[in-house]
Symmetry: C2
Subunit: 213 residues, 2 copies
Amino acid sequence: MRVSELVQRTGTPLATIKYYLREGLLPAGRSTAATQADYTEEHVRRVAVIRALSEVAGLPLAKIRQVLAVIDVPGDDLFAALGTAVGALPPYPREQGDDLPRARAAVERLGMRWDPDYPAAAQLEHALAAAEAAGLPPTGERLDAYGRAIGALAEYDIRAMPHGAGSAVEYAVLGTALYEPVLLALRRIAHQDAARRLLEGSAERPGERPPAG
Amino acid sequence: MRVSELVQRTGTPLATIKYYLREGLLPAGRSTAATQADYTEEHVRRVAVIRALSEVAGLPLAKIRQVLAVIDVPGDDLFAALGTAVGALPPYPREQGDDLPRARAAVERLGMRWDPDYPAAAQLEHALAAAEAAGLPPTGERLDAYGRAIGALAEYDIRAMPHGAGSAVEYAVLGTALYEPVLLALRRIAHQDAARRLLEGSAERPGERPPAG
């Protein structure tokens, strides 16, 4: 396809496409004339990935380059490639891997493997420390409830991971960058829905509250 | 307690406490001498709430004031107060309530009440549109899996909501500001854990993969 079709298919301005080409994020099309090049479905896909990383996840150029490099050349160790690529996404917590007592206790309680070097471990420590500082540390019961729900989600996501290392890395990165906002929005709506049922049930129609869960 | 103890108990610098006092976010302590005031547990709690809103949720001063006003005077309609307070938290999506087709379809599929004026509705539309633009819109199956997990979480949170309107609003605001980061970190760790089991199971120890779920 011509670049004009790439613009249309991806809903991305020509200037942005040219910028991606110039920066080497998007491979050049196959030249068909002095001023024309032919683009493929791969280019459509790649533009979508770059925009998700840039506009949704807010990644700077250097980090986008880093993630794309892992998608293009995942190497033999898919587990490591997944970790490197997802670990390049924000947030970038300051906490260090040596001393993450809250995160470690939570992860071990939930029966997951503890890996202090994975950036999400420091991210969890930071989040739990903030909750504790605000006087709202998680009870064991809350951690268990969250762990069960999040564990089920994660199992679903990983089982749906495509075969092929590059596709798997791309899926993991997009699934993180694009679906974290979906989950947070869904949770707020589910809270509103559950609060409405609770409050309507207790205030307006006692006894008619739908069963919880 | 003296202000020095408030500093110590909350781990908040004196200059920050004075700033909160000056801006009226923190009520003045009871004067005990010309230059001394007495602070209570309420002050400790309030400083924690302000810091969570400011440092974790990234709220500007005007929004913090707005949220504190709802906590202090929730009014007769607790459901509305919860919506106003949580709706003051970021993100602030540009999408308008009139035309949110993706969010509406998702919420109705999950059997939740559709309320286009709740800010999370526009937030969900924005997130789903981004996923669609990247070529990764949710399948019905994925939506259902996410809806089940998130619904269970929300039921837990709402059932644990304290009695008393002000406390309930504070709980909802802190539960959103402080626990969204916890959830996202937990999900990344759960992904890593599930990926490890899948990949170890298939590559290194075929047949020994633990049962999924």
